[in-house]
Subunit: 72 residues, 12 copies
């Protein structure tokens, strides 16, 4: 178990389907620009309400990814 | 973007189906007595356990709704 | 309504299906060693990310169960 | 166990007798305008000090009450 | 010093002028429907950003108001 | 002052008499199965309301007890 | 209502009688060295356990007192 | 209302004028390197004191901005 | 950069003008009895409401000041 | 990556050497009665002071350990 | 076990050596002006970075000390 | 004292040696890609346990660095 160093990014996923879908969407989007994603932590669950009744879920995640050593 | 004023109500939705269903039920119930619902924030997730195993989800939401100006 | 005393255990459920499944799995597992389970409270939602994209949900629960009086 | 929906109100009870009395006073007052009260949670304990020494207890409670379905 | 009971409402004031103005607007609006307002507590400061640069301040307040005894 | 190690258990005491009684009941019950109890910390105060007015106090405690060295 | 300035001190009251007594003892002791005491806020409730069963309550308070202008 | 995904950056604005100015400065600076800024949340208010009396305000903000889809 | 030690005092500034003025007033008052003031942190924003509408701002600050070595 | 379930125990390690030593001591002690220890989280750092100057470190940890399936 | 009353002071220790050293330095400094020091609690760990790389640790402690009865 | 603006990054340092080493490693790694590092704040201390007993420390830091004005 090497002593890796991680960086943490915060991202908000959204979905009208549900919480799981919002989380998966955020992780999927993060994977397009960040590499070596390792873990996430949910830090907030909010949403928008449309037409007084329709809930759009917004889940805020911290996403940790392993840093490679920068080229010397 | 007008400088609207919002009021916030706290409500607990419940469901034996799951978290999404509990949230939608709470928003739906809120829409019957409050108008201009705009956003929600989940402030707690709890539940009851029945027969030692069956989980009933209870999600506490803050629900924000836009206030109209009171009639003069 | 008797003045029951409860003990609280902390458990982490995991699922690649979703949050509801992780919660149900944790309650189900708790029921195998604890009795008179009464309520739960979600205290954290985290997860592992595999292959940069696949989310494994981990939900931390406090589980309350009613204590019987110990035999004299 | 039906999937009831609850609303939550915040109220501050006060007493120069003590904490228990402040909580009971707040619940009692809430029962005069709200129905189907089910639970409370203490979210803050403060007080005023009179004449540099006499403590007046103020306990902030969230009070949950079961919502009936609104008449159609 | 009588042992008054207070109720607490949550309200979000908004202003493009600044924080003080958002707080005063929220208190002013609350005074139109609630009486015997006594104190407030700021529980959150957020805002919207328009055109990438213009900040609209949103301040969430808890507002406490003294309850009269309900008529018998 | 030896460098003792403590374990922490969470327990919920209940009483219709008041907060002090709920705390003492929880400590008393803990003492029946745990030994070398040393300290407690209140982490939550809640309650049930019966008949819209009667408060049942529930106090959540963390209880610390000194661990003996396990037999070799 | 002048714009007074307050200083805040933290003090821990203790009592084997109960929470109210611990709070009153702390306020009483504070009044011996501080003047113009105005309010308190409970920030923690802990205790010691003696002989595995007897609870000694310890209540941590922040105490606010009005500052006079220092002599010029 | 599309299910947009947001990224969140943390930034500290500073001003010797006041809180509003520190917030506006931070948003303004963020807009120079980030696009589609949508909201902010104040997570801390601190400051430096110079010459024992002059306050320099420092406001920590989380700033949310909408992510475009990365080019395929 | 020497390894200075700081002490922290808590103070509540008040103003009917606004938040900045309440903070400055508190720092100014602190400077009359404490020396080597270095930083502050806002830990709470509250206020009194007069005549149902007029807000008096109260800002709680922690103020850090550098300790000199006590004379031997 | 199987969907393991974890249980969480809270333990307080102590050391007059330092924080690292207190953490290691707590993990070491936990390993004598719990198996499959996987992670820890520090939830509090406190200490006793002896003779007005000598610090004894006390670190509170949550320790997670993987649960095996109970024998059928 | 008498029902002692404690006062709590907040102090920030600093060290370029490490966390243990910063804590010990703060306790040592506190002992020069306060007596009957009994416990401490770490409430924050921060630091300054010099030359982009060298960390100076700053640990904020609450320090509790037993109050003697003031002379009559 | 100019009114500088800072950006904040979150990073997790790891070490099998101890907490100080994990913090220094994180700051050192951050200095390879960020400039004008000014301060850090520890927001979490966790770790992995290997072979039931060997602790690997993981310290989460927020790191603040001064932003230069972007080239016009």
């Amino acid at each position: 178990m090497a002593d890796n160093i991680y960086s943490v990014s915060e991202i908000v996923g959204a979905s009208s389907v549900g919480l799981d879908d919002a989380i998966r969407g955020a992780v999927d989007r993060a994977s397009k620009t960040l590499h070596n994603l390792d873990w996430f932590e949910v830090t907030g669950i909010r949403g928008r309400i449309e037409g007084d009744r329709r809930a759009h879920f917004q889940v805020t995640l911290k996403v940790g990814f392993r840093l490679d050593e920068p080229a010397q």
